[in-house]
Point group: C2
């Protein structure tokens, strides 16, 4: 079995995690390795559900913090195995998962192993299927099976935030916009109706759309509406009778999912539209006492989080949550995904200091 | 092995052919059945190349006619097996292949078996892969291996023409028009460039395009330019870096392939474009003496052929060629593909009369 050595430095551990591919749906090898290394630690109570692993201290501290990270990545694009590179003199680790988010997971695994006596009780969570439909997300499954495991006074997601603290997150909605036509031989196109041609206004509206930036509790959330997939056509000589454009709307946490859906339906008025995935955003929630202590301890200015993260899930469950992890979120999912080594070490130092103080 | 009984009436034989699925690339079962039935006929010399079968009389007649039909179909869409239906009182056979072109093939197989003493020597050809890339077409392969088999004074393709004689055919060109972008996480779309949005003008130009109708030797050829496929995107949360629109241009036989390509490049000026398939059209060619005799014998007014057919291949080889077969070409590739039974019998009668006279 693939093994993980939690006594490695957090940089080397990040590299080891990246070199065990774990594209969504294919996390078992990595989950097995995490289970084997964490399951051997006597100070943690460990629970596994599928490829999600929960490890808790049980020290009867007055407060409990949940610290979580997903172990899956988006598809690899010739960027595994990882490698060390020099970027303008900055020692850097390059490859899929370095940013989103095996750097954060490495720090968590290392601290889970080493902090046998933290100032608060800690519930560590490493979970699968974050990069795909919310319905498949390991935490969705866990919240049904063991909602008690989410209990806590504060939560930290190790999502990439450049080593800064990013509050809240945008909401996320995906919908399929569809046109229909009539099939016919393409030599007599006038007999049919071309569903791809009928989709021209959908792409035009997308390309003309100007996303807004919305202030929520002092942080500026930038929205986005994008086609993420398009498909249509069955053969080189057949007028297509169906065209589908899948769109992804990222919306500020001041909007509800229902408002977001209504906005998308307005943009594509006149077209058939099915919402296929939806997840609320989360307000920053930085006024919680533990959040304030945490900000002071790591010495960071809070910023808005653009990407949807599972902070929204904790926020909905009444647990204030922030994102804090190494890596530039702009490089997440990028073919040139890479993280400065110092950021991994800084986040390790920040979290260690706060949990040990 | 599946067997064909060539003593069936041409309607029943059409039905039997339709009920042996033979989507392009999967013609072997049908080709084996044809080979077994035709190979048993002592008056024909038979040659097989892959799933293409050639059967010739060798009667030393002063003239030779090539009569050909393809045995493949476009993909089935819940329309096999075939069935008899009544359409406004007209007895009809419904199902994939009834029009394009197993009705024509049935008539040919029946006459090949029964006309042991035709007035001209006949070269019968039944071939594979007509509905896909010209490069895969059984006749392309045969023309390389045995060009001598194409020798003749006149050729008839049994392509659907409503039992009328359709002269020449439009040319056919397919091209992929492509946009590039930069991948990024869809939560930070402004970091990437959306290739699907960039394709909006491609669909707009297609939907605004007005095809021409061009007179060639007295017949009016109607052109068409259509998207037949579109694809882009790799995941629900990634800004796509590639979008491809495959377009199909059907052009009047007065244009060369080079002129057609130049026209398509003009329409999509500014975009990357690769031509992936091209086939010349064919002028009507109805002034050939055998063509005139044939028109008189079957008593039909010539019309233009819109769809590209292998008449273009014969035309290029210097053999005048026409389309003559049962079925409404407007229903070719249609989910409701169907042929009036009387048309199959009319074409059988017309061909039989001319070949026997």
């Amino acid at each position: 079995m693939t093994e993980l050595d939690l006594s490695l430095g957090s940089v080397e551990l990040t590299r080891a995690l990246c070199d065990i591919p774990s594209v969504s749906g294919d996390e078992t090898t990595l989950a097995d390795a995490i289970m084997a290394s964490v399951g051997a630690l006597p100070h943690l109570e460990v629970y596994r559900d599928g490829d999600t692993i929960v490890a808790r201290t049980q020290l009867d501290r007055p407060q409990r913090v949940v610290i979580a990270g997903h172990i899956d990545t988006v598809p690899i694009n010739a960027n595994v195995p990882s490698r060390f590179v020099d970027v303008d003199g900055v020692p850097t680790l390059w490859g899929r998962g370095t940013v989103d988010m095996k750097g954060g997971v490495a720090v968590q695994l290392k601290l889970a192993a080493e902090l046998t006596d933290p100032r608060v009780d800690v519930t560590w969570m490493w979970y699968d299927h974050e990069e795909v439909d919310a319905e498949l997300n390991g935490l969705t499954r866990l919240a049904r099976a063991r909602p008690d495991l989410f209990a806590g006074d504060f939560a930290i997601l190790g999502e990439p935030s450049n080593g800064q603290v990013e509050g809240g997150c945008n909401g996320n909605l995906r919908a399929v916009v569809r046109t229909h036509g009539v099939r016919a031989h393409s030599a007599r196109a006038w007999i049919g109706e071309n569903a791809i041609h009928a989709a021209a206004p959908i792409l035009a509206r997308l390309s003309e759309y100007r996303p807004r930036t919305i202030d929520v509790e002092g942080l500026a959330y930038r929205e986005g509406l994008n086609a993420v997939r398009v498909s249509g056509g069955i053969a080189g000589n057949v007028i297509p009778d169906l065209c589908e454009v899948e769109v992804n709307y990222r919306f500020a946490p001041s909007r509800t999912v229902a408002e977001a859906e209504s906005h998308v339906r307005d943009v594509f008025a006149g077209f058939e539209l099915d919402v296929v995935d939806r997840a609320s955003g989360a307000r920053p929630g930085l006024d919680a006492p533990l959040a304030q202590e945490f900000l002071a301890a790591v010495g960071a200015e809070p910023r808005p989080k653009y990407g949807w993260t599972d902070v929204a899930r904790f926020s909905e469950m009444g647990v204030p949550a922030v994102n804090y992890g190494p890596g530039d979120p702009s490089l997440a999912h990028h073919d040139e995904e890479r993280v400065p080594l110092a950021q991994i070490e800084d986040v390790e130092r920040g979290l260690r200091a706060w949990l040990s103080s």
